[in-house]
Amino acid sequence: MTTTPGRDAPPGEPRRIAYLYLLPGLLLTSLFVLLPLIHTGWLSLFQWDGASVGQWVGLANYEKIFAAARLRELFLHSAVLIVFYSVIPVGLGLFITALMTRRPVRGMTAYRTVLFVPQSVSLVVIAVAWQWMYAPNGIVNAVLGTRRAWLGDFGWALPAIGLIGSWLLTGLCLVLFVAGIQKIDPELYAAARIDGASPVDEFRYVTLPGLRAEISVAVTLTVVAGLRSFDLVYVLTKGGPGTSTSVPGLEIFERAFSRGQVGSASSLAVVLTVLIFAITALIGRLSKEPA
């Protein structure tokens, strides 16, 4: 078989023509992702109400963000949400997956579907449904025998929202892990059992390393979901009671569209984007195979 490489390039070296193939995707990404991102960065250097002529303020918006104690509270809420959006779903997903590897479960497809269904429902619908369930006369109180207004309680509102996230994202993690486990060679489990490995050992030395890539994807997706959470909070509590469930995403929205502070909203958006990039990169690095 003969190859026809580019005139100067040795075989295997990427050819210029590759850029042509990349062009459509690159154009779309530039137009709808990169350009808005750069535009946001540009707007963040102005004081602008969204209608009249903006005023150049340089980095003043950023200085204010880092000086505002109030904003630290928002990121603290994000950290709490990450526990509910990421730690619990990934942990629960791994646990269920581990149980399944021990012995085949009858009707597994049905369970998997049920756990994944929340993913396919609109978030607003989910939020409204949970708002009913959390109401003082809702089903949550009926089950617990209490009459607490979960979403109106300064201590409980944030965990209540977080739990919805856990419920929502466990299915996603599970589907990822179940897909991943199918590519682990069954003989590894057989070998482990012959060597007398306990279920815990088996999980630790076979399942976990085999799922490294999937766990990395799950953690990335769920952490990002926690950081950029907006919809549930917006529909359920608007950040209340007080500011006890306020998150950066909500603050950006309010600044840009309610308060006419487009510049400072953009700067906060840039900070959040950078933070998400940094955390994603960190997760990617940590989950690399040890050399």
Binding site: I38, H39, W48, G50, A51, Y134, A149, G242, E254
Partner: protein, 458 residues
Amino acid sequence: MKEQRRRLGAGAAILAASLAVGACSSLTPGSSSAGKPDQPATIKKLTPDEVRALGDVTLTMTDFDPAGQGLGAALDKLVAQFHAAYPNVTVHRTSKDFNSYSKTIKLTLSEADAPDIAQANVVMARTLVPAGLVRPLDGYYDAYAWRSRYPSSVLDLLRAKPDGKTLGDGKYWGQAIGGNMVGVYYNAATLKKLGLSVPRTYGEFERDLQVAKDNDVLPVQLGNLEQWPANHVLSTLMNVTEDPQVVRDWIRGKPGATFETPGIVAAAQTLRDWEQKGYLPANANGVTNDRSIADFGAGQGLFYITGSWQIPRISAALKDDGGFFLLPPKTAGGPAAATGWLANPYTISAKSRKADLAAFFLDYLGGPAGTTTAVAGGFLPFGDLPAGFRQSRTASDVTAAWRAAIKDNGLVPYLDFATPSLGDAAFPAIQSVMAGKLQPTAFAHTVQENWNDYHSGS
């Protein structure tokens, strides 16, 4: 190494390309969209004959009164009536729900083909006026004698300085059909059962609350999950504990005005006291406004402090037992004061080429011809109602209270008109005050800081 450099190169190329695209439009945000503040001063008051002689014309208007509901339906009827009187003029109305509307109105009016007429509340006006997107209406105010339509407490906020921050001075930016107002709805059957009558002083009102509490009746129904409903309770209390003019001056941005007054702090303290004494539902912060209105309609609660926009629901649920009064003053017979203002002012776009016709239409909407339709749709009228006009018990109570407030020049506009971000600053803080997490003085300070930030231009 080589690979990395190439990646860098590609990145730089993308960056440069995007900047170039960005540079095509003018780079300073808003510079291409802002309207021209200077309008030709020549305005004309059209006569009905002149309007009929215009030939076929279309006026476009946009508002946040979605079709089918009270105000929206009333507007549709008014538009149809106008078209019947002037068949050559077609008014084309588009509406959005309030949330989407308030977030897109700046863009809508920045378009080259902006609608001729656009609804705007005070907060929207604060950005539309300095951006030059709406036309000053002073000429039309003179020509149509609109000033005499409203009490001076209402007119204040219809005028804005060019920066949009100080109101009550400068040019008129809007005109309106009618108003709305917050007050105390009561369940007349429950009141009677408790052996009480409509209170004439604030002291009597508080005594009624305690009587209700002692008889295991919820004194004041409230659902505050959305954060804004309790603001209506607080501002209503402020009308008793503070001079309305102090609050009005503060809202319109009078230099040196402050929210940190003993009267305002006392109102916040009263709200907290009500919470502690069990006058409010224990879980008010976790119940939706909608739910609480339904509960009140089902007989749970003696009083409900909310706006005239709830007349249809409360009168439908309580029938002749749905009564309404203004929170009474400290001494019997004192001047009536209430939180209330225009329901929805209309502006004329700076880009409109049919401003004279638009003004003629607005005059029609707010004039006697429109009053009955407007009232049927839920607006509170500034003009007189025709003799024999039938209203529900609730609506006629509200209308009577409205007349009293206007007569005493006692309308105090909504607190969140004070700055574009006041709601964000104050509403969550009111929840915190109710829960005892924020002291009333600290609350007043938080709100005043927001005001200071806005007026110091940061």
